[in-house]
């Protein structure tokens, strides 16, 4: 049979996608919230053969998902995940979208209702360059926070400590944390030297 499937050309390196992919078991069921053009899901589908769906609200992103050949469902994350049953996914991912959500607590709890585990990534507001800019009297603008204060979609920025405290309040168990600066994994003083934070978490108490 002739095929005309989406070509799996070599995509530009995305260390943040690799960081998420490293936490995901092959063949698992994945829901990607705010999936953009679907490139993360496509990455996970190609690398790990996951069965996934993306959720997106922007029409041009939805069209890009169609072109990328991934399952996408038009939905508004702010209204929750009522289209999905309890425990229906192995992982629910929120990649660099948490800081733009209005209902931050609700979405984290919803992630753990429909998924066994949640994975979030967000720009660390505590990154030293951000602190330096705030210290010098300006709102930070950087590779991870490219917007001006007046046009940014990022309304709920936080530091690593802030996020961990919220998890504690919500009785969410952090299973794993990773902090990146470009392609480098930061171990020393992550809340100061890390630009992008990744967390994997669950409802269940940590075991083993």
């Amino acid at each position: 049979m002739m095929t005309n499937e989406v070509s799996h050309t070599q995509l530009p390196s995305r260390p943040d996608y690799d960081a998420i992919a490293a936490w995901i078991k092959p063949e698992s069921r994945v829901l990607d919230l705010g999936c953009g053009d679907g490139s993360l899901l496509r990455h996970l589908k190609n690398q790990l053969n996951v069965h996934g769906y993306g959720i997106e609200i922007d029409t041009q992103n939805i069209l890009a998902c169609f072109e990328n050949g991934i399952n996408v469902i038009h939905s508004d994350l702010e209204s929750g995940l009522s289209g999905f049953g309890d425990d229906s996914f192995d992982y629910v991912i929120l990649s660099q979208t948490l800081q733009a959500m209005k209902n931050t607590e609700k979405i984290i709890l919803e992630m753990l209702r429909v998924g066994k585990q949640g994975i979030v990534s967000f720009p660390n507001f505590g990154y030293w360059k951000n602190r330096l800019q705030v210290f010098s009297g300006r709102m930070p603008i950087s590779r991870c926070l490219p917007y001006e204060w007046y046009n940014t979609p990022n309304i709920h920025l936080c530091t690593l400590h802030d996020f961990e405290q919220l998890c504690h309040q919500l009785q969410v168990n952090i299973l794993e944390q990773r902090v990146m600066n470009g392609e480098r994994k930061m171990v020393l003083l992550p809340n100061l030297f890390g630009m992008l934070a990744f967390y994997r978490f669950s409802r269940e108490p940590k075991t083993g």
Binding site: M2, R29, L63, H74, G83, F84
Partner: protein
């Protein structure tokens, strides 16, 4: 203007079926015919067939135009053709007039070979399940084991969904547009008012108007006028007609005063000239009966468990007849059944009829989805 991506002249064909068809109602049709059209070429592997299922008043004439009538453009000509979203250079596209229709397939206006008279009220009511069986028989005759895609809007979307559930191995992709998993009480209520308009027309004669030399024109016209209101949105009617008067002032009588009255009456008249009242009754019942979850105690997810196809579900923001929420119900059950499914709600002000209209985003989505279907 020359329409370079149009199919140009097309012509219908007929296919006769001799083995009896047992219908869901218990009735049996000893033989029947289907009228159909095809566009494009069936490839040697027979893997590029796309079936288009029509809605309540549609037909097999989906695209192209008839040689003897330049105004006879198919009902989805903007979607189907060379280079169009459903590209006939790649796909072999089939339109079939549903059993019970009035455009050539066996239906109430056909001659019953047992009596030598038109079936009329004796033609049995049919369901989407019956249609699914006729589609399967049709595919067998062309040697098509599996459709690359089965696509439909409104009742057509329901028919496509039904085939994907009744004959899962025959469908690789199902595209369900502006549809619902079942009709609500409100939907059925609208259908019944339409039916009552026809059934109570003095010219109806219990459905045997053919032998009385009459036609329940008033009833069919009213039914269509009512239906037409549900196909449009409040906003589109407001922007198209508003409260505009034909003659500028109130006439203080029951003639045509408002533009919307003129429009609806015209639509009703036009429809009554070209459609059969018994078929209209039958099609509305097929809508009412559609409920794939019924056999699974109302559990749609369980009903979808047998599907093997991938799905695309599309809705339109201003469609209140089958609102986006109804499409979401389908999507939710498909996700729960672990099917591949994509869903988009298309911003549109044209109500239910949006599925027939040309809209950039809608057509881009269809094009992208069709492009990724392997053949």
């Amino acid at each position: 203007m020359h329409d370079s991506d149009s199919l140009g002249i097309v012509s219908p064909q007929r296919m006769h079926f001799d083995s009896p068809l047992s219908l869901r109602s218990g009735a049996v049709l000893d033989s029947f015919e289907l009228t159909y059209e095809t566009y494009g070429e069936l490839n040697p592997a027979k893997s590029n067939a796309v079936l288009i299922c029509h809605a309540l008043s549609g037909s097999h004439h989906v695209a192209g135009v008839y040689a003897d009538n330049p105004k006879s453009t198919g009902w989805w000509n903007n979607m189907i053709g060379p280079g169009k979203p459903i590209d006939t250079r790649r796909f072999f596209v089939i339109g079939i007039n549903n059993l019970g229709g009035c455009h050539g397939s066996t239906g109430p206006i056909s001659i019953n070979s047992k009596t030598g008279k038109r079936y009329g009220p004796d033609f049995p009511l049919v369901t989407t399940g019956d249609w699914a069986e006729t589609y399967a028989r049709f595919a067998d005759r062309l040697g098509i084991d599996c459709f690359a895609a089965v696509i439909g809007g409104s009742l057509g979307g329901m028919s496509a969904l039904q085939l994907a559930l009744d004959a899962p191995e025959r469908v690789r992709h199902t595209i369900v547009i502006a549809a619902a998993a079942k009709l609500t009480a409100q939907n059925i209520a609208f259908n019944d008012v339409a039916r009552q308009a026809i059934l109570t027309d003095p010219d109806f004669y219990g459905g045997d108007y053919y032998s009385h030399g009459t036609f329940p024109r008033r009833g069919l016209r009213l039914a269509r006028m009512l239906g037409h209101i549900t196909y449009l949105s409040d906003d589109s009617m407001a922007s198209k007609f508003g409260r505009e008067l034909r003659n500028g002032t109130f006439a203080f009588n029951f003639g045509v005063e408002f533009q919307i009255e003129s429009y609806l009456r015209y639509q009703g008249d036009k429809f009554a000239d070209q459609f059969d009242a018994n078929t209209y009754l039958l099609m509305t019942k097929a809508l009412d009966y559609f409920d794939p979850a019924q056999d699974c105690d109302g559990d749609l997810q369980a009903a979808f468990a047998r599907a093997q196809a991938d799905f695309l579900v599309l809705s339109f923001s201003s469609d209140w007849r089958f609102s986006p929420e109804r499409s979401r119900t389908i999507v939710k059950a498909l996700v729960a059944s672990k099917r591949n499914v994509s869903y988009a709600e298309i911003p549109s002000s044209h109500g239910h009829d949006s599925f027939l209209m040309k809209d950039d985003y809608y057509h881009q989505l269809m094009r992208a989805y069709m492009h990724n279907i392997s053949i």
